[in-house]
Each structure stands twice: as C-alpha cells, then as structure tokens.
C-alpha cells in the first residue's frame, strides 16, 4: 500500500522532504490542501488501509510559524509516514479533518488548547480542554515558546 503514497507525490499533492529518524519518510504539503490529501488517502488506501497516529504541533518561534506533523501509519505493512505543513504563527488556521477521520478529535483539540491552532470546522474545539482555567482566562497557550508558565 505504501506505493500509493508515491502516486500522491507524483500528482504534486505531497513533496518528499527527507526522513525523520529512524526511517520515517517525510513529506511536505501546502496546508490549504489538507482535506484533499486525506480524502485521497481514504479513497486510495481505504478505511482499513491506514490510521492517523497523532498530530505533533511545534512552535517555530524564529520562523514565525507553527509546524504541524501528521503521522500516518499505513497498513498492513505498518509503515509510519510524516506529512508536514506550516501555518502562520500570528493567525494559525487550518481546515479540520475530523469529519473524514474521527481519530483526529484528540490531537486537534489538544493542539488548539496548547498551541492555539484553530482547526476550522471542528465543533469539539473548546478551552479548557487540558490546561487549567486561569491560563485560559489569561489567553496563554502553554506550549508556545514565548509562554511563561
């Protein structure tokens, strides 16, 4: 099934960008095409062909970006691939994939709460999800590098 990912690369949806140790292939994509990519994954790999392991959000303070890594495990070989994208740090917005892949609920809610990335179309986003209420009142996103917690 992993060769289906190469098809997406050939069609220009994904761009190869090296590896993350150990041996996780890294692909970059434009954050506006997120839904298109996951629709294609569902179509080509099938519902049982992969699962979303997690989304890792990282605050890249120097570049004024927030990096989002979607970790997808392709079945049945169980190969982890990384789909990486960047959103603007001052106005972090990306489309939600919750309606396509319900597994995105936990990571999307968590990243909204800890980093402030808005997943457009996710009705479950709320604060406080994890962080204490006093931080929510002050408008602090604790995992941002300039947040003093």
């Amino acid at each position: 099934m992993i060769e289906k990912i190469d098809e997406l690369v050939n069609e220009g949806l994904l761009k190869e960008a090296g590896i993350i140790k150990p041996n996780r292939k890294l692909y970059e994509f434009n954050h506006e095409r997120i839904r298109e990519i996951f629709k294609q994954l569902l179509e080509r790999l099938g519902e049982k062909g992969f699962y979303l392991a997690t989304i890792v959000g990282t605050d890249m303070l120097k570049d004024k970006k927030i990096r989002l890594d979607y970790y997808v495990v392709v079945l049945p070989e169980e190969i982890t691939i990384v789909l990486r994208t960047y959103v603007d740090r001052d106005n972090p917005e990306i489309n939600s994939i919750l309606d396509l892949i319900p597994a995105a609920l936990a990571p999307e809610c968590e990243i909204y709460d800890l980093l402030g990335v808005v997943f457009k179309g996710n009705p479950a986003l709320r604060r406080p999800f994890f962080v204490p209420e006093e931080l929510v009142e002050k408008g602090i996103y604790p995992l941002r590098k300039d947040a003093r917690v």
Binding site: G49, A53, E78, P102, D113, L143, V149
Partner: protein
C-alpha cells in the same frame, strides 16, 4: 372508603433523570485524567461526553525546561503501570539523535523488563474487569498471582513499580545467574495461573454473559477512530509495533501477534490473556538466551553531554497500544520539543461513540475493556433535574444491577 379521602388524579408529571457518570477527575496511572459524562434514557446510554483537563501536568513543557538526562526520569513518571515503556521510548528517540546503540545484552534486558510490565498490566486490567462485573474473589486471586510478576520486576529492575531502568546506551542494572534462576521459578508458578484464568474467562457463564457482544467495534471503525493495541487487535486489525518496528531485541525473540475477530469486550480481554501468556514465553526465551559477554550497564560518566540537532520519532508497544515519543533537539542541553502520545488518548477520547445503544450496566464493562485506569471511577451521581437533589451510587453497585453478589460456585 371510611377514613380515607379520595384524590382525583388529573395530571401525571414525568421527572426526567439525567445520569451523570464522572470518571475521574484524576488518577496517578491515568495519563489524561478525564470525566466521562453519560446520559441515559432509561437503561440505554444515548450520549457520552468526554471531559478533560482536571490535572494536566504539563509534562511536555516540563521536558522542554529540563535537560535530556533529567527527562528520562520525568517521562517515566507519566504513567505508573508502564513507566518502563515510556522511558524506553524516550531513550530510544534520543539514542537515534545521538547515534548510539546499546549492547545486545542491554537490549534483551530492556525487552525483559517491558514484557514483565505487559504481563502485570494485562493481569491488572483483567482483575479490574472481574471486579467490575461483581466477581471479587477472582479479582483478588488475579491480584495475588500478579505479585509474582511484581516480584520478578523487582528482581530485574530493583523496584516493584517505578523502575527507572533505562539509560542512554543500555540499562542501569544487570542480572546474575542467581537472579535468573529466581525469575524462572517465579515464572513457572505464574504461567499455570494465567492459563487457568484464561480458561475461566472462556468458560465462565457470568463473564460470558457480561462481556460477549458488548461494545462491538467494527474493523473499519477501529482504524478510523485510531484505536490501538489490544482494542484494535480484538477487532481483527493486526497492528503491533514490536512486530513492525522490531526495536531493541524484538527482531530476535520469537513471538506471535494475537488477533481476534469477535470485536467485543470479551475479545479485548482474551487478547490480553493470550498476550500475557505470549509475553511469559518471551521472558523464558530471554532468560535462556541472554547474551553473556557484553556489558549491559554503560558507564554513566562517559555518556555524551552534547546533543546534536536533529529529530526522532520513536514508537513502542505499550501494554495499552502504540506509544509515541517525538523528540527534537536544536543542539542545546535541553530538548526543543518532546511530544508524548499515549495510547489511552485515542482509546478513551475517541471512543465516546461506542457506548451508545448499550445499557448503563454495560458502560463500566466497555470502559474497562479499553484499559483505562479505573480506581477513580467509583462514583456515580444521580441528579434529579426537577429538585436538584443529588445522590451518590458507587459504580460497582450500578454494574451489578443494584446488588453485589458472588455465587459461591465461582469462589476459588
């Protein structure tokens, strides 16, 4: 009638009951303390909400503020039950960044500690399941036999629970032949007990009645909702990080990935028994084939103090499923980012849908079958919406249909 007054009934007021079932708010072994709020129409669960945020400890931020070395001890405090796999996953991620590799003997010892952890974790959750369905004598028996494994873990790592066994480049204690003999004796006592409990879960009428066809998860739902570990394997999805990533010594130790196709709570518990037996065999194999000549314990004074920039993404098969550590270094003594994704995040937060349509008495069974930590859900509040009156009922009473009973036939 004389002495009585007749009262004409002209209206009936229906009092709506909302059943609010708080799971939580916190427990040391539950990584993400949460509240599971269930709404029931009569006996049938119609909606479940998952609430979080009661005790977010901010471990990811804490890890960014501490050195790579201190983080080993911080991450093994994420979870009490599976502290070994947490430390192992973090240590392996940093080893990838550093480019060092432990000796084969150290790899075998790491697997030994992690497999012992898997056995006692699976025994614990099966014991809790027995307690939840009102079978307390079975709970106590399983917990007694689990002590053999805790003792084994103490012999290997020096501590029953919190082991702090892993270090970059190896482990922190070695085994001698005397300890190996002790471990073998303990294993010989525990394996027949696990087989007996497995038989009990297969044949006992009460257990079958409570678990079979409860909390069914279709295979396509298991992947869509991102279920992990025994929860996915009981739905026929063959995922096991030990088999796919072959980290540490898993490439050299023979074992089977247990998969079942029944898709219900019973299948999830049976997967755990089979895995416990499989792990016991693996432990035996490790004790017989432990590489002899290399050093397992690295000299901690000679370990690297400088961490090159880089990123690594390590996976490990924790007792509850795939556990993930993403570590990013920017060349400073402290990591730039540590992301932890525990299997329970998916198995608990994403599974609200699978309670719907079952009765309230099935709710604790389904919840337990995901393997959350249960000791904090011993409360249930019934709120009368009309009067605002609250009354507390223990979860166990609810699970047993209002009365606790144990048939003497089932006492061991």
């Amino acid at each position: 009638m004389q002495g009585c007054r007749a009262v004409a009934i002209d209206k009936v007021i229906e009092v709506p009951y909302a059943l609010e079932i708080p799971v939580g708010p916190q427990h040391p072994a539950l990584h993400e303390p949460l509240l599971l709020k269930a709404y029931a129409d009569g006996e049938e669960v119609i909606k479940v909400e998952v609430h979080t945020g009661y005790n977010h400890r901010g471990i990811e931020k804490l890890a960014e503020k501490n050195s790579f070395y201190r983080d080993i001890f911080i991450v093994s405090r994420v979870c009490g039950i599976c502290n070994g796999v947490h430390a192992n996953c973090y240590v392996r991620a940093v080893e990838q960044i550093l480019g060092i590799e432990p000796s084969p003997r150290a790899k075998y010892l790491r697997v030994l500690a992690m497999e012992l952890e898997r056995i006692h974790s699976h025994m614990l959750i099966n014991a809790v399941m027995a307690e939840i369905i009102g079978f307390d004598s079975l709970f106590m028996n399983i917990m007694r036999d689990r002590e053999y494994i805790m003792k084994s873990k103490e012999i290997v790592t020096g501590n029953r629970v919190s082991a702090d066994y892993m270090i970059f480049g190896g482990v922190r204690r070695d085994l001698n032949s005397e300890k190996v003999d002790k471990l073998k004796k303990l294993l010989d006592r525990v394996i027949p007990r696990i087989k007996y409990y497995k038989k009990l879960f297969m044949e006992d009428e009460t257990i079958l009645k409570r678990l079979v066809d409860v909390g069914v998860v279709k295979p396509s739902e298991a992947t869509l909702y991102g279920l992990l570990g025994p929860a996915a394997r009981a739905s026929g999805i063959k995922i096991d990080v030990r088999a796919s990533d072959k980290y540490d010594a898993y490439g050299e130790i023979p074992f089977n990935v247990i998969v079942r196709n029944e898709c219900d709570a019973w299948a999830r518990m049976m997967v755990r028994w089979d895995e416990a037996l499989e792990s016991a065999e693996m432990v035996k194999y490790i004790l017989d084939h432990l590489p002899q000549d290399e050093k397992a314990v690295p000299d901690e004074r000679r370990l690297p103090r400088r961490f090159p920039p880089g990123e690594a993404y390590a996976r490990v098969e924790a007792p509850r499923g795939e556990l993930i550590y993403y570590v990013m270094s920017d060349g400073k003594p402290m990591p730039y980012r540590v992301k932890i994704r525990t299997p329970s995040v998916h198995n608990i937060l994403n599974t609200a849908k699978f309670y719907i349509g079952y009765s309230i008495a099935d709710l604790p069974v389904i919840l337990t079958s995901w393997d959350p930590c249960i000791s904090c859900m011993e409360r249930l509040t019934i709120i009368d919406l009309k009067t605002g009156e609250r009354r507390k009922v223990p979860m166990k009473e609810l699970a047993g249909g209002g009365k606790k009973w144990v048939n003497p036939r089932y006492s061991l």
